[in-house]
């Protein structure tokens, strides 16, 4: 498949021809609030964040087509509620990376701890290293590509989107999953309730191939297994509809 993209900054090809100056923001001198205000007010442009030193909420709430590169590791909720633009972290991220991402791209070169990409509605999250527990918990349409392993309870109650894992998955993968496709190249410690292995049909190979390309990951879609929902939990049973409707009426 596509060669692994060497570039660390995710920039649309159309913009490379007209390079814009990069605005440096040093968190050793600038407050986090000032940084995020600057990013929220920008309509376009590129920013480089220096000395994050594990700060929380770096580049949170971006909703324009800007490019942010963070040099160093970040704390909790980096690029939370992200839309449209791209955030690239050259380091690790703690809890809640790209939580509730709506669109755009978030990429980190290192590993993420718990709940990466949680509740994401859209966009692409790329973690080149490992992701910890509950990666993609309650994902609602986001695509997440993890170069290494994911921890236990990943894609718990996943509703839509794709989780791609080039390494192994921890225990209870896809527990209580509604929809969403989980592609794992390595071992799965165990599947959660109502999660099953499924066939890789041509459309899945195409989707996976596109995601690996977008993420710049050099891997063969043929090496992956697909997992998803068995749709056998009570909420999938039409018999329970009457009780549900009656409950709401009451």
């Amino acid at each position: 498949m596509g060669a692994r993209a060497g570039c660390h900054l995710h920039v649309d090809p159309g913009r490379v021809s007209a390079p814009r100056p990069v605005t440096d923001v040093d968190l050793a001198e600038t407050s986090l609030r000032d940084l995020n205000r600057m990013l929220h007010q920008a309509r376009q442009g590129s920013f480089r964040v220096l000395n994050p030193r594990g700060a929380h909420a770096v580049a949170c709430g971006i909703d324009t087509d800007i490019t942010v590169e963070v040099r160093g590791s970040v704390g909790y909720y980096c690029a939370g509620m992200h839309q449209k633009g791209s955030v690239h972290v050259d380091g690790n991220a703690s809890t809640g990376l790209a939580e509730n991402i709506m669109s755009g791209t978030v990429r980190i070169t290192g590993s993420a701890t718990m709940s990466a990409g949680a509740t994401g509605h859209g966009g692409l999250v790329v973690i080149e290293g490992n992701a910890g527990a509950r990666c993609g918990i309650s994902m609602k349409g986001v695509d997440i590509v993890v170069g290494g392993n994911v921890g236990h309870m990943s894609a718990f109650m996943a509703q839509a989107g794709n989780l791609v894992v080039l390494g192994d998955a921890g225990a209870d993968l896809g527990d209580s999953i509604y929809e969403a496709n989980l592609y794992v190249r390595g071992e799965v410690a165990s599947l959660g309730a109502d999660a099953i292995r499924k066939d890789m049909r041509p459309e899945h190979v195409r989707t996976l191939s596109g995601l690996l390309d977008s993420a710049g990951m050099d891997a063969d879609p043929g090496d992956f297994k697909r997992y998803g929902t068995a749709r056998s939990l009570y909420n999938f049973h039409i018999d329970d509809i009457d009780a549900e409707v009656a409950g709401r009426a009451g």
């Binding site: 590791s73 704390g75 690790n92 703690s94 809890t95 290192g110 701890t113």
Partner: protein
């Protein structure tokens, strides 16, 4: 929410700076627990001398009389070193016996720790002030643990502050909450453990102290703890010559570890680690759920 940090020095290189480095880690965890704080310092004391750290919160005890009485009980010399509302009692006598005698006869005192290596200090208020008041930055040593507390289930008091220690040179800081600690405390009391608070984390410390006293290694004790303790926890644990980390199998409570050739550091958040020397080249990883990590120093 609470903040916990631990720093274990694998080489002698940074031993003179242990307190300073621990204080910088503690400082970063202020936001997670502005109500109270505490720290344990292990400093290569003489094996034949037991130190007992005692807290007399809001009191002006007659330390010299307490020391003299303890000399009679232990039939051994006792020296007293007061530090604000704490005092460190030093004796070649039986430390466990001294702890029990102090608890039995001075219910108004809190015996925070005993052992040949450990001292524990804790107080209500800004964690930075706690570090300043008890002179953390000046301390040298081999390893240290510290805790910042945001009280959610009980009052802001000093005796709800961590670290907790019930056994010799064994202490623990905890982020989380245990659910079966009442039952477990009763069971441990039958085994001879003495508790001084109603706190769940003290029971976890007592459990480890009991298992170590029964001859378990720290790894064996923690393997049993994974079965015996029900609840949420990220623990950092200090023993005489070692350091350990354990998270419950669900692992809701955060933890990050960084390690170089000279040190291993654990914290609730990565930002505590960024100030440590050479942290830019440290190996950084998240401890896996239900996995026991230990580091020991050759005696």
């Amino acid at each position: 929410m609470c903040g916990i940090v631990g720093l274990f020095l694998k080489t002698e290189r940074f031993q003179p700076r242990l307190g300073e480095l621990t204080a910088s880690m503690l400082h970063e965890m202020r936001d997670r627990g502005p109500d109270s704080a505490g720290f344990a310092i292990y400093d290569q004391g003489r094996a034949e001398v037991t130190r007992i750290t005692v807290l007399a919160e809001g009191q002006r005890p007659d330390w010299s009389r307490t020391g003299a009485n303890l000399e009679t009980v232990l039939d051994a010399e006792v020296t007293v070193r007061p530090i604000r509302d704490h005092a460190v009692l030093e004796t070649p006598g039986d430390g466990g016996r001294a702890r029990q005698w102090l608890i039995d006869n001075f219910p108004e005192l809190d015996v925070l720790s005993y052992g040949s290596q450990i001292e524990i200090y804790k107080a209500v208020g800004d964690p930075d002030l706690v570090a300043i008041n008890y002179e953390l930055r000046a301390r040298s040593g081999t390893h240290a643990l510290a805790h910042t507390r945001m009280a959610t289930e009980s009052a802001v008091t000093t005796n709800g502050s961590h670290p907790f220690a019930t056994g010799a040179d064994t202490c623990l800081v905890h982020n989380g909450s245990l659910s079966n600690y009442n039952w477990l405390r009763t069971r441990l009391e039958r085994q001879g453990e003495i508790f001084q608070t109603e706190n769940d984390s003290e029971v976890a410390a007592g459990y480890l102290a009991w298992r170590l006293r029964e001859g378990d290694s720290i790894k064996e004790a923690l393997e049993r703890a994974l079965v015996a303790l029900d609840g949420f926890f990220t623990f950092a644990i200090g023993i005489e010559n070692g350091f350990a980390i354990l998270r419950d199998p669900i692992a809701c409570k955060p933890a990050i570890v960084a390690e170089t050739d000279d040190w291993v550091a654990m914290s609730s958040e990565y930002r505590s680690i960024t100030h440590l020397p050479d942290s830019g080249h440290a190996s950084v990883w998240e401890p896996a759920p239900g996995v026991i990590y230990t580091w020991t120093r050759a005696a």
